[in-house]
């Protein structure tokens, strides 16, 4: 016992070293944190211009933040029922966050509510919902985008011009915001603006409606399409009716067809959304929410007006022609 006492300082040294060693050893094989799981439900899985860019933005953020993101959506952009079913399936999977591009601000509400009720964070991209139940919203500030288009339209209309508006879905908040923004930029009283028509996001319908509108109101000098389909339909109608130059068109989005019309001079300008940014920022917000961070309620992913003159210049070229992964 006395012998033990004599060596106690060394025993203590040994003990301390052993404990430190054991601690270090335990930290040696630390498990990496599990990835956060995000399910991204778009309006469609179709990979056309806008959705393609948006998906690329999602994928870029996925890589950047090392998140586990699954992208899904209905086959058709107008299929509210299918999207709602997909939302409910996603809720059952219990991910950390659901990122949703709601097809209809009213009809998507019930399914979106279920997301919140399941305690899953909800990030909306592109389109909002009737009630603000989301944790964060990332999208084009559609009112502002409308203003951009409206500013050009106002210049094109001059004093005596008349404006026809082809919108897409009647109750879509996107459509409403764009229209309001556009009208506010065009003028205080909208006496020179004809009643808006709705093509239900169908290009052929837009074409028909435009043709009809131009026939009914030959005094229309400027046409505004509020989304890709309505814009493309309007441009085609103008081209086919041979009204190019006399009826000027301002549209939204940048499908290849639209780009051709822009080069041709049928479009005076296209307001393009930064779809890539939208996807990227949507995932960024989702990641921050999953990590318990604070995220601004609304985030504008931005929009820009491209005209024939600047379409091959710098940033406009890059936004108009997203690098396509082939």
């Amino acid at each position: 016992m006395k012998r033990l006492m004599r060596y106690r300082i060394w025993l203590i040294v040994l003990l301390v070293l052993s404990v430190t060693g054991a601690y270090l050893f335990s930290t040696l094989q630390a498990e990496p944190d599990p990835k956060m799981r995000i399910i991204c439900i778009l309006k469609t899985t179709e990979r056309n211009g806008f959705w393609n860019s948006l998906t690329e933005g999602i994928e870029a953020a996925m890589e950047e933040y090392d998140a586990d993101v699954r992208i899904t959506g209905p086959d058709e952009e107008s299929d509210v029922e299918q999207q709602n079913k997909i939302i409910r399936d996603a809720v059952a999977e219990k991910p950390d966050v659901i990122v949703l591009a709601a097809i209809d601000s009213n009809l998507t509400m019930p399914a979106a509510l279920e997301v919140k009720q399941a305690g899953i964070k909800l990030v909306l991209i592109d389109s909002g919902l009737k009630d603000h139940i989301e944790d964060a919203m990332v999208g084009t500030d559609n009112n502002r985008a409308g203003v951009r288009a409206g500013a050009l339209i106002q210049r094109l209309m001059g004093k005596d011009g008349k404006l026809g508006i082809i919108s897409f879905v009647r109750n879509s908040l996107t459509a409403i915001d764009r229209e309001e923004g556009l009208k506010s930029a065009v003028g205080e009283d909208n006496s020179n603006v004809y009643d808006t028509v709705y093509c239900d996001s169908d290009e052929q319908r837009a074409f028909e409606l435009t043709t009809q509108l131009l026939n009914e109101h030959p005094d229309i000098t400027v046409l505004a399409g509020l989304d890709q389909y309505s814009s493309a339909g309007a441009a085609r109608a103008v081209a086919q009716l041979g009204l190019s130059g006399r009826v000027k068109v301002v549209g939204f989005d940048n499908s290849k067809e639209q780009i051709k019309y822009l080069e041709e001079g049928i479009y005076e300008g296209l307001v393009i959304q930064k779809a890539f940014n939208m996807g990227y920022l949507g995932i960024e917000a989702a990641v921050e929410l999953a990590q318990g961070g604070h995220v601004p309620m609304n985030r504008d992913s931005g929009s820009v007006l491209v005209t024939k003159d600047n379409m091959y210049i710098g940033i406009y070229q890059k936004l108009l022609f997203p690098f396509q992964e082939e």
Binding site: W10, G21, L24, F276, Y312, F323
Partner: protein
């Protein structure tokens, strides 16, 4: 400074103090080395890759440049773009011929999107001539076209842009263009260009793996991005790239942060021919991902080593100091007077081993020296005693000679004869016999001669009897034992007595001992005197200096402590002294040898 209670602790502390810092330094160096070597290796690795990409890009563009040069000089492009045609079919034939050459090249290269020539006069040849031309494009307005014209025959490489010359197609391309000149013409007549699929460049860069967070990007001579894996992020302003740093650097590498572990490693390589810069970016966190584990391993090893070192030190210092402790213990024994300890027996050849052996030898030597000393002392004493025992008290001699003279004067011739012959015998015995040992017989005779002389001097006052058992007469004993005792009895016992006294000398065996007794009936001694009988006394003139003490001492010197004199005395009744001797007296004397 007395920090350590013993050498053991001191050793242990010394070991620990040495080993722990050494281990710490080792760990530190390992850390540094790992960090540096990781960085250095990845720098080397990345710059190799980047240069490889740069070479490939150069090779590509060089090839395109050569191709465009060849096309310019071996086709009718210049002619076609400048000439005035009167005949439309001739114009078409010429265009077809040029298109043929274009398509020949195209058919071998899938990475070329288009080869085309455009004249200031609006003439256009694209690829094999069968492409649908985008009517809405205005080539002469495009910046790449303008810069090719301005370069006046030099090759212009335009970084990535959208090529819209073919209807319904808007691919990203890299253009290698050259102004077309005709002999004698002052101004170029048009531009010949080759569009390289953007994918050719991006695939090249993408094929390089720089870890999951590493990437390669390419800048043109103006710092415009030719390729970047996250160009959309850059275009959207969601990310920044260190373009100005790269443009400043040219070729080389830099870290984005002074803290290596948070930094990104940029490795740039600028091509001399194109001015393009290929940049490899590696995330250091990824490089050092495994370093943390490696560091922990180092630390763990160091701690295990330290534990082992302390344990080994414990054992080793114990082992090393054990002989010292053993030495200390035996020294303590010696300190306490025990010379029998031999000291620790050490087989090893260490200093401590030698010390131990030296100590043992020293102790041995001291012991030998002490024994020798004792022996010497004994010998010295013996020779002293020997010298003493051969002496005859000179007073006794005078007195005897006086007595003889006196007797001769009074004519007592017979008595003179007896006394003289007794004295002669006494002298002969004491002088002639050099031997230490005599027979009991001789000793008895000596005493007898002595007593004869004394009786004649003291006349009626002294009588004596000598009775020696015949069995012991021939036995040997050291001489001059009885005479001093008899002398004592006479001078201290009989002499002070009023009446005549008797001295009896007896010799006999008792068990294995030989006993000689001298008994007198003199004044005797009280207990006080008896207790001091063996005390040292100054030899006086009447004694021959061979006192009782000397007799005792001599006997014990020769035969051991168990032998010697024993006195019995009673005041007024006389004294008896008993000499105890071993039976084999001479043999016992061997003890001294």
């Amino acid at each position: 400074m007395r920090v350590f209670k013993n050498i053991h602790s001191a050793f242990l502390a010394a070991f620990t103090v040495i080993i722990v810092p050494v281990t710490a330094v080792f760990v530190w160096i390992s850390f540094r080395f790992t960090e540096e070597s990781i960085l250095e290796n990845s720098q080397k690795y990345v710059s190799q890759l980047v240069e490889q990409v740069n070479d490939k890009v150069d090779f590509y563009l060089d090839y395109m440049d050569n191709t465009s040069w060849m096309l310019l000089f071996h086709s009718d492009v210049g002619d076609y773009l400048s000439r005035e045609f009167t005949d439309d079919t001739q114009k078409k034939e010429m265009a077809a011929g040029i298109a043929d050459q274009f398509s020949n090249i195209l058919s071998t290269r899938s990475d070329i999107y288009c080869i085309a020539a455009y004249g200031q006069n609006g003439r256009l040849v694209v690829n094999g001539g069968d492409e649908v031309i985008n009517r809405n494009t205005n080539i002469s307005e495009r910046s790449w076209y303008k810069s090719a014209l301005e370069a006046n025959g030099e090759t212009v490489i335009t970084s990535s842009h959208v090529q819209n010359v073919i209807y319904d197609r808007y691919p990203w391309v890299v253009s290698v263009s050259r102004a077309v000149r005709v002999p004698g013409g002052e101004k170029p007549v048009g531009v010949l260009w080759i569009d390289l699929n953007y994918n050719a460049i991006s695939d090249l860069c993408r094929s390089i793996d720089l870890g999951s967070r590493g990437y390669i990007f390419v800048l043109d001579q103006d710092g415009q991005i030719v390729y970047h894996p996250q160009q959309q992020l850059l275009h959207s302003g969601l990310k920044d790239e260190r373009i100005s740093d790269v443009m400043e650097m040219g070729s080389g590498h830099f870290l984005t942060d002074p803290d290596v572990k948070k930094a990104k490693l940029y490795t740039c390589s600028r091509s001399e021919s194109t001015g393009w810069t290929v940049v490899g970016v590696v995330d250091a966190t990824e490089l050092f991902k495994n370093e943390e584990n490696a560091k922990r391993m180092y630390l763990l090893t160091a701690i295990l080593l330290s534990i082992a070192a302390v344990v080994v030190s414990l054992i080793l210092s114990g082992y090393m100091t054990r002989p010292i402790r053993a030495l200390k213990n035996s020294m303590r024994e010696v300190e306490q007077g025990n010379f029998r300890v031999t000291g620790p027996i050490l087989k090893d050849d260490s200093e401590i081993g030698k010390l131990g052996r030296s100590f043992s030898m020293m102790v041995d030597k001291i012991q030998i020296l002490m024994e020798e000393q004792i022996k010497e002392q004994k010998l010295k004493r013996r020779s002293e005693l020997k010298a003493l025992q051969s002496q005859i008290n000179p007073h006794f001699l005078y007195n005897t000679l006086d007595s003889i003279v006196w007797m001769a004067e009074s004519g007592r011739d017979e008595e003179v004869v007896i006394m003289t012959s007794s004295l002669a015998r006494l002298l002969r015995q004491s002088i002639s016999n050099e031997a230490e040992f005599v027979t009991v017989e001789q000793e008895a005779q000596y005493v007898s001669s002595y007593l004869t002389i004394q009786k004649m001097r003291y006349r009626d006052q002294l009588s004596y009897e000598i009775e020696v058992d015949p069995s012991i007469r021939s036995k040997k004993m050291i001489k001059m034992i009885l005479q001093p005792l008899v002398e004592n009895a006479l001078y201290h016992g009989i002499k002070y007595k009023e009446e005549p006294g008797t001295i009896r000398v007896r010799g006999f065996m008792q068990g294995d001992r030989m006993i000689l007794e001298v008994e007198d009936d003199g004044i005797g001694m009280d207990e006080e005197q008896l207790a001091h009988i063996f005390d040292r006394k100054e030899p006086d003139e009447r004694s021959n200096g061979v006192g009782v003490r000397n007799v005792q001492e001599r006997i014990q010197l020769y035969y051991g402590k168990e032998y010697g004199l024993t006195y019995a005395s009673e005041k007024g009744r006389g004294t008896t002294v008993r000499v105890n001797l071993p039976a084999d007296c001479e043999g016992a004397g061997l003890k001294l040898q």
